[in-house]
Amino acid sequence: MSFEFLSLSIPLWWLLVFYGIYLVFFFLYTGFNLYHLLRFGTYGIGLYAITALFLGGTIMLVALSFTLLSPFDWMTGVSVSSIFGDSKNTQFLPGF
């Protein structure tokens, strides 16, 4: 029985796990930032405007990211050969 690296199949949803871990840290720091702004910022319309801009922009970017990621079928497994090419096709990264 021989092991072939190129025949390995990786489930695509693993990418979402890594992205999820990243988002946990992202939201954690977003929370810290909001806390600091609201706790230590100087009361005034400027503070509310900045907080709204930060919160609005964050929600918009995360929503955009989810919208772009949603069309993919995350349950499919992807073989290494389809990414790096197989013995017949030596092209590294399609498109480039």
């Binding site: 990243y22 702004l37 100087t42 009361y43 389809s82 990414i83 480039f96």
Partner: protein, 192 residues
Amino acid sequence: MFHLDRLPNKRPDERVIMFLRRQWFAWAFILAAAAFLLAVPTLIGAYYWDRVTVLLSHPALGPLVIVIASAYVLSIWLFSFLEFTDFYLDTWIITTHRVINIEQKGLFNRIASELHLSAVQDVTSDVRGIVNTFFDFGDVFVQTAAEKERFVFKGIDHPERVKELIVKLVEEEKKRHAQRVVAGVMEGTKII
């Protein structure tokens, strides 16, 4: 939230004269850096658009590119705002009796200190370079009798004007202080 009309340990006759932050150049630099970091991959992507579309249609590389791009854009957004918060929370308040220095260092370090105007010995303004001179911004150093204590107003607008204002307020406060001392002595004399 910090209210300017509700300063900690505020005296009844104390008024806020000036509220200072670093000059707009500081956050313009943050904005420019973020714009540059976003523009470079966008321009490269636009230039190689045909190849990028092939890459995005790939069942594995397409999602990978979107995930990386999402994380990249979200990181720039977050770090820009963290830097902006650092800038925004650095403030200096000049009142009729004291100077309050509030400095935010990163997310988890915050220094708040105050200096009574009667203790101020020397005020210096420092404008260096063409850009600083042209846009009239620089530093103001407020020194007390104790050598260690020195407040630095970093990169503020119109440092010369701020310096003159502090000097004027220091003189007024010292006069008031002297009057209070004399009044105290007089009162003491009466009691005796």
